[in-house]
Symmetry: C2
Subunit: 139 residues, 2 copies
Amino acid sequence: MNDQEIQRILRAAGLRATKPRIALVSLFQKSPAPLPVTEIVETMKDTIDMVTVYRMIEALTKAGILREVNLHGDKARFELTDTKHDHHHIVCTNCKRIEDFTDDAHEKIEQRVLTHSKDFSSITDHSFDLYGLCNACAR
Amino acid sequence: MNDQEIQRILRAAGLRATKPRIALVSLFQKSPAPLPVTEIVETMKDTIDMVTVYRMIEALTKAGILREVNLHGDKARFELTDTKHDHHHIVCTNCKRIEDFTDDAHEKIEQRVLTHSKDFSSITDHSFDLYGLCNACAR
DNA sequence: ATTCCTGCAAATACTTTGCATCCTT
DNA sequence: AAGGATGCAAAGTATTTGCAGGAAT
């Protein structure tokens, strides 16, 4: 995805395509794993103010361009919503490496929950993450 | 569960059964939803130091008595591990109410992930949470 | 031109660390 | 008695708010 495309995405979401925002989306595209705010701040601190990073993330998350990922013992992380289709994470509890996996079985679970719940009638998002030891750490 | 039982649980985990810890476990038992640290601190601040709350939560989580729950747009929350068997949460994105649901289909997913992954060979924990609008907020 | 965004300064809130004392075992 | 646990003080991080100036539409 080039800057032109990023601009389109931002504008389509009703947001202005500013330089900091384009840089932020660009950064997310390069990252294989979801990023914590502090890491983004660290990476961009020479060109973009910390406060702006917080506000951009809030705005882009609200707009659906970013997605929050919460992992145990960790600050909130964010990733691009549309990078891969509906993926989840498996995290090594030792070295903290994060990998993706896909599985659509959770949709059936959501159906079932909706059917059984008397208090909820719509599901808009979900999180599904696994924790374990990667092969390197298991040795 | 009474204080006697809580004492047993703490000691079984190799921890001393102190008054603050018993009070903490007691508090969790009374709570229908996972609690954020700040809320615990607020509730106990007249009798227990803030620092102690942080340290207790760390110790009890490490011991497996508590379990971390991370929800979108929220600080880390904690709940008793053994209150209910393997439950998950459904969160109203508007009013933030949290309800539980159970479903063991995720176990099959875990099996499948293990079979397919070349980097992971064990899974020790998982998180699975849904977000939506509760009936009251959907109106 | 208008409205949205950004940067800076500062305030708040959250979390951790060190050490002396207390309490459980 | 010994070692773990707590409380207090203080430091270290993370996050939010207000406002003036700047940039995108």
